[in-house]
Symmetry: D2
């Protein structure tokens, strides 16, 4: 069970969300005493947008809480748009290539969730990648593969449709392989302009997703689990949703990849 | 709060105690869901005796549970005497030099506990080291320093007296510095022949220490906390004790560094 | 340009070949002042056979010369059969999964050389793997892939034929992709019984391979480049050869994967 | 023999000096084929000034050339003042705490050189630190110690006098210990405003120091060794000099710690 946080809005130092004591991603992931799940000590990563179209990327396999570099970077770097992730591996190797976020060109992506029986369907899923994206696969996680498939299926044009197609592919391959068709998927991703998040599962247990305004409404934070002690007023995003944060604010839409009708967009607070 | 396990007896593969699923040091340190303390993800180490007088030493700053090398080593290496430790730092830097066990010559040492206000008395304690042992200080932990002081104070001749003197020095420096005089100290150490363990604190909260026979009585295991699911019948060692495991079996003695009379030895089970 | 050394014979401590000052693998790879190629600082690995059918494996991404763990392990572990490798990456990621040796079951493998234009033919080469071996691919190197292909093509039954088939596949895919057909391949591998080495290239520049008797003839060492200061009398193995070390001594055979006639075995020294 | 580069002037991306192919610090440290010394694979570090008084710090023990994080950071971070260092250890442990630059408050420092027989005089030199700076010692290098001593001896008020006093202390302790009195010291350091560099040795072999204008004169670069292929016109700074870069340009002064008369400042270029 990974944890992540993402931010879009007026530029803030990463540390406000990544490493501030008592109410930040790292602090929560370390002090898992009260948590239902084990601590998140299998690596971490941050992707942030600055002056260039492509994000910066810093990932390592140490526990986030013991990484002095991360602390210093989070204190120095100010950004209007960033993703941060702490990993709790459920068996995969601990290597930088398997740490979130993943970056391709100007896109960044991170994920909490899983594909049931992934090892059984990994190969046919990889076969759906064009040569270009196949070459871009550096690790072995289901998360990176879903990201590459979304790029394959038109992430640049229609993010919701692209991830819907990636999820449908996984389910189709599960069915073909006789594996239980189960996906849980709570993810955040960005092209450097908008910040997107999806909360979805084929069963009733979609990993949680929350949003909160920050900086007096000049920014928004999206998190997989709310920070316990923060002042932020967390709003739970319902399962089957896709949230989009732009300069114009936050909007939400249904995300139901298994339904053929076009997914409709409805503005939200 | 660190965790450790030590073994002496008929040679066994390290994995039996270090990494076996469900009832080993690593497994317990990872799944801290039910534990009162945070998980132990700030490094680990093993010291084992083989053909040479000096032990082998393998330490790293990754969480033990994600280290493939450790898994392979624990599966290959068989030893009649070894120490294993997983670290939960309470603020110190995560570096290999700060990981237990510490090794000097044929001696190995590992520790769970703390000296209150250590940063205030670290310098005068280091001043008590001879040049030889001062040069041997590679890290910054109180644990390594207590070990070096014990070497300074005659560990080769009288282990109980040596650690008693190190503890008295720490308390004297605490008093001099006006720091609260508090030490908690549950440690295991070996010279390659005997395996020793001490459970001691100046207050009522000495970190726990347990022993259990293994291999049908051909070996003994000492642990800071019992493995939850193991078959082993754990016996709690009372605070203020020093336990010695030799070819002749296990003996126990009072360990009361603040009392001037000679500490008496009493055979035990 | 990687460097490696392998040993088979009477059990010796790994340090005799791996880390002894002045005449060992690590020493040579560090002091590359006189060498034609850059130093080997992109990770290292050792695989050694002990009591179990499967070898132990220790790999890390640090330069070998600065790894205290490696020094200690090489000093403690004694083995009749082991492989050691230091890596100089030519562009690939530095991760443990890309460090040699690679291990599958009881087989170990390490390599110096390259496939020209590998990125262009990586995908069709991976497609030749059965699901079982596809799942066993953890890294992204050409070396690991050649090893998995050899397993696919019958390494258990006929090592020479298996690697010949893997090399032919690579050349066929190069031709199909319009990439220059060039392989340089100097590798060592073992099943825990015999130690094999191949020196081969499609051009005139097969990476070097040398052998030398050790321990008064009770063991043999194979190296990619001779240690400069060692007493050992190095014998150069000609390109297009496969060497086999067993309890019965060393034998050599032609290795010419592009010729259809059976490769013939000729006893040597 | 370490290598370093420092920059002050109009803000530039770190990559221009740190990681650009063909003419940057990392590139030069990797391709040491032509160099007189071994490659610099024992860690690296960057310290850069941004919006805060204290610099950001990123250090790791991997070879700089294989660190994807460094490449990404150097590409994203733009700074008017930064220090970058690649390390070639001459025996000390490879740990982050021993990697340059060192940072204390708003000061940063990095160094190429050595104190002869440092292990013999390390203890009395450490004894000259006040408790405050003694506590700030995290590693074991002579470089960090000279930096802390300079802080002790008034770095905030008079950088030249502070380092002169630190060097005199080292020489005095060498004399007292009967060790050969030899220091070689080419260092760069900054308080976030000015960038300083010193080139000094007690013998004729002061490690080199070069400067070059950059960005059409809007910035200056100081390096321990010139980049081979760069367009920059390198100017060698003579031994026994201290260079200061401020908004007003570059000035140079004699640096002769063993002479009692005040060191005089002479404007340059």
């Amino acid at each position: 069970m990974c944890r992540w946080a993402a931010y879009r809005g007026t530029p803030i130092h990463l540390e406000q969300i990544v490493s501030a004591p008592g109410h930040s991603l790292i602090d929560q992931s370390h002090c898992a005493t009260h948590a239902k799940t084990a601590t998140n000590g299998d690596g971490f990563g941050i992707a942030w947008y600055g002056e260039r179209p492509e994000p910066g990327l810093y990932r390592d396999v140490l526990p986030a809480w013991s990484d002095c570099n991360l602390k210093s970077l989070a204190r120095q770097i100010r950004s209007p748009l960033f993703l941060a992730h702490v990993r709790a591996s459920t068996g995969g190797a601990t290597s930088r290539d398997n740490c979130h976020p993943f970056v391709q060109g100007r896109w960044s992506f991170m994920h909490n969730g899983q594909i049931a029986g992934f090892e059984q369907i990994r190969r046919p899923m990889e076969a759906a990648l064009s040569d270009k994206h196949y070459r871009a696969r550096h690790g072995s996680t289901d998360s990176e593969l879903l990201f590459l498939l979304a790029l394959e299926f038109g992430l640049d044009e229609n993010p919701a449709a692209a991830f819907a197609a990636a999820i449908r592919l996984a389910l189709a391959e599960s069915a073909r392989a006789g594996v239980k068709e189960l996906i849980r998927f709570t993810a955040a991703f960005s092209d450097g302009e908008a910040l997107y998040a999806i909360r979805y599962a084929t069963d009733a247990h979609a990993p949680t997703l929350y949003s909160a305004p920050m900086c007096g409404g000049l920014g928004h934070c999206l998190v997989s689990e709310p920070f316990q002690d923060a002042d932020a007023k967390w709003h739970e995003i319902p399962a089957g949703s896709m949230v989009t944060l732009t300069a114009g604010g936050m909007s939400s839409a249904r995300f139901s990849p298994l339904q053929t009708e076009a997914m409709q967009i409805a503005a939200v607070a």
